[in-house]
Symmetry: C2
Subunit: 224 residues, 2 copies
Amino acid sequence: MPSTAPTPRRVGRPRSAEADVAIMDATRAALVEVGWSKLTMGYVAARAGVAKTTLYRRWANKGELVVHAVAALFDELELPDRGSLRADIEGVVLSFATMLQRPETNASLMAVVAESTHDPVLREHVREAIVDRQKHLVFQGRERAQARGELPPDMGDSAEARRLVDLIFDVIAGAVVHRTLVSAEPVDTEWAQQFTTLLIHGLAAASSPGGPPGSPASPGGSTD
Amino acid sequence: MPSTAPTPRRVGRPRSAEADVAIMDATRAALVEVGWSKLTMGYVAARAGVAKTTLYRRWANKGELVVHAVAALFDELELPDRGSLRADIEGVVLSFATMLQRPETNASLMAVVAESTHDPVLREHVREAIVDRQKHLVFQGRERAQARGELPPDMGDSAEARRLVDLIFDVIAGAVVHRTLVSAEPVDTEWAQQFTTLLIHGLAAASSPGGPPGSPASPGGSTD
DNA sequence: CCCTTCCGATACGGCTCGTATCGTATAAGG
DNA sequence: CCTTATACGATACGAGCCGTATCGGAAGGG
């Protein structure tokens, strides 16, 4: 039976693609206007010129609706080759921060993450639409830097390489998100440069598989 | 007039301190049970054995109630002198992560931050109760490392020192928060060690006031 | 042309919010 | 002791939103 997945719906009236984009646009616009907490399904429906029923036919609740609307914004994240590791990092930091400072992303990203804490389905959507997509950029930038000779190549142990990519991802995305949304201070060129300096020199050390120069902590066995 | 602030209320029945702690405990317990989004004022009141009126007499809404309940958890964050910069960082990363992984902090921190995006009053409370408190730890750890000779001393420019402390704060807190709440992966000893290695070597470079070794990005003026 | 599915409109129960009210309880001051 | 001022518990209330159900009609596929 080769035709199970490729035909989810094959008969009947198809869903309106116009309604889809109208809903997405209305959701993002509503996020800008009233923010996450005051956003209601009824308001989005009215703004999109759609019945509330149509919303619930596509998304189970507010969380899923918003995560889809927001995830699309992450599509614009790219990593053009800027010629050096430093320029690549600085560029992605600035473009990521620019996206985060847009009002429709600002509140909703945190809200979606918070919501996903108690909702495994939502968490998976966040992972696919946001986390994995960003992580791929890190992987890509690292490969480029290795090709340029700016970072040491992988030493066979792919698990360790993955751990390092995960670490870099959390450091970059975490710092930018935290600066923007928690500290609530702007990511300007100066901050991006200082951060990039820190990261590049840290990377050089963390990437060397022969063990870092500094000895590990608690050498005396004081397992506090 | 020396007696303006010290006498906020001087006549009438004082507020019940027992009710205060009962409400805080009930709020944290409710956060564990049902999470932020499903937490209701009525439920907290019933759980605390208090009338709903009493809640609204102390906090204007759910956001303020929760931010006070959560902020108290940050009081336990300390920075004992572990003897070296590396041990200090690793220790604070692990203790911060441990706190974040507790269920009552997990969802609520993000939710409060998201809520504060559209609520300046709440934002100020978050800043006082959480951000500034953590930032002080960074300042403290940096001073110790300077006293030990592990980091170069301040070079007069206190503004630059403040910028650096802000950067370190966002990098540490951001990475731990992002790893825990967005990537949803545990902060174990191995991760903490790898992160600390990265940060220490990055710090050595970013702290040198004579300008970082690497030249700033986009020297050709390609302001993309 | 028929069948299936989607659409808009409307109504509904249930829940939560935040406020108001009222009688009672608990302090300080006279 | 008695007055005054505030906090408390209980209850009720309007308003808003959620998510579902129902309905007649519309729009494609076979």
